[in-house]
Amino acid sequence: MTKLSILAATTCLLLSAAGASAQEIKAAVPSADQGSYNPQLTAKEAVLTNWKLAISGLRAGKFVSDNVARAEGVEYPKLAAQAEFAAETMLLRYASSYWLFAMDETLDPVDGSVLLAAMAASRMPCETACDAATEALTTAFGSASAVLEEAAQAAELAAEARKGISDVEALAELLSDMATYLDSPAWHSDLSLTAAGMDGKEVSARVVGTLAVWRNIEPFVGMRSAEIDTAVNAASDRLLRDVRRNTRRKEVLAPDSAEIETIRASAAQVAHELRRAAGLFQQG
């Protein structure tokens, strides 16, 4: 936990204890309009940070896709290098945001064939007369940009809907849904880029995306239970280690492979601890 995040959580929870109801973790962050901007996140904002991270990730994928799709007069080798960076960025950001689609039933994953087509186009070799290869790149990345923007807009609406719920509800929902996601096959099934030999990268990003979520809300859990905070961190460290060991340079990862089984066991342990963390904010 960083010093800044500890400070943020302390501020929020002290203010909460001072006068807020048990339902709300009031952070009382003054707005810039009041003349004293405070950058520290409220509990609700910390939850929404994860939505922002995911939405911005999808938009980052769109940004790099647009750079390829709209390139004019760029020599093919330079465009191909741009496309390679774009394809990798798009995949990582999309996969890191994948928990969105498990968390909210109104959100649908993007069509994997569109991402695969962009990846394939980015790998198309061309030495001379590259008009067709250039057109394939611009078309494929134009399509990728469109589906990522569509997904980002839908996620924005889902995030907006969460602004109205209480801080404790928001924290409980996120922790609980992350647990459900890690306990489910969602992080290793319906992979988009198996044909491109990128299962390892996709699985890795789908799991690591949830660890980023945990980091963003950890301070609020830590202030309620240091024991649970430590337990989630220990389980997360083990999961991260297992993801690194079992996904690097893995072109294909079958659902029943030893690698997935190892990660699944660690993911289940994190899920268990996240459920305990969610319990800190649930009623009854």
């Binding site: 901007y37 996140l41 929404l48 940070t49 991270l53 911005s56 960025t89 950001r93």
Partner: protein
Amino acid sequence: MIRPLLIAAIWGGGALADESAVAQCLSCHMEDGRLDVVGVRELQDLPENWPLLFEDAFDRDGDGIAGRVGFVSGGGMPLIGKWGRLLAAARFEDFAQIAGAAHDIAVDEDMEAIRAAFEALSPAPVSPFQSEEDLARFEARGCAACHVTETYRIGERELMPLSDFLLHDLGEGEVRTTPLWGCDSSCLSYSHARTEAQGD
């Protein structure tokens, strides 16, 4: 056109100008007749999602470098920070608020004047690279892992901030990758490793 007018207003306006928030800000930010903050206009137009192009909070790629996005309060919805060494603000006006509070300068009522002054006086970014070879050497040394060489456009201008705008922990807490778009070629001889060794 605006620059000479502002300078005239700030230094030629007598006591009133000296006491204004703009004058107070500039009294520390001017160095050799130039504002010491480069790219104020350009930074405001940095794409919001820029840090997400490079984010790797858990060193997933195993290159030994982890960098995370700095989020700040946005009055309900978090924003992605891009201003300041600690990425403490997403918007110029928020950063000015923080700086104003730190230096006991009331900036609220003069915010637009402060913005105008900083925009007018801020030097435009320059590239430290004299040639493609300079750029290739920079990338080969590994500097571009954080001082990224990706670009973005404002109209017809292509800008290379040479920063991923992520927070990295270099051993003394997390700090933003310093944008090098205000550097001349002398920046290219800088080395984190050598500096740390000298400090030991």
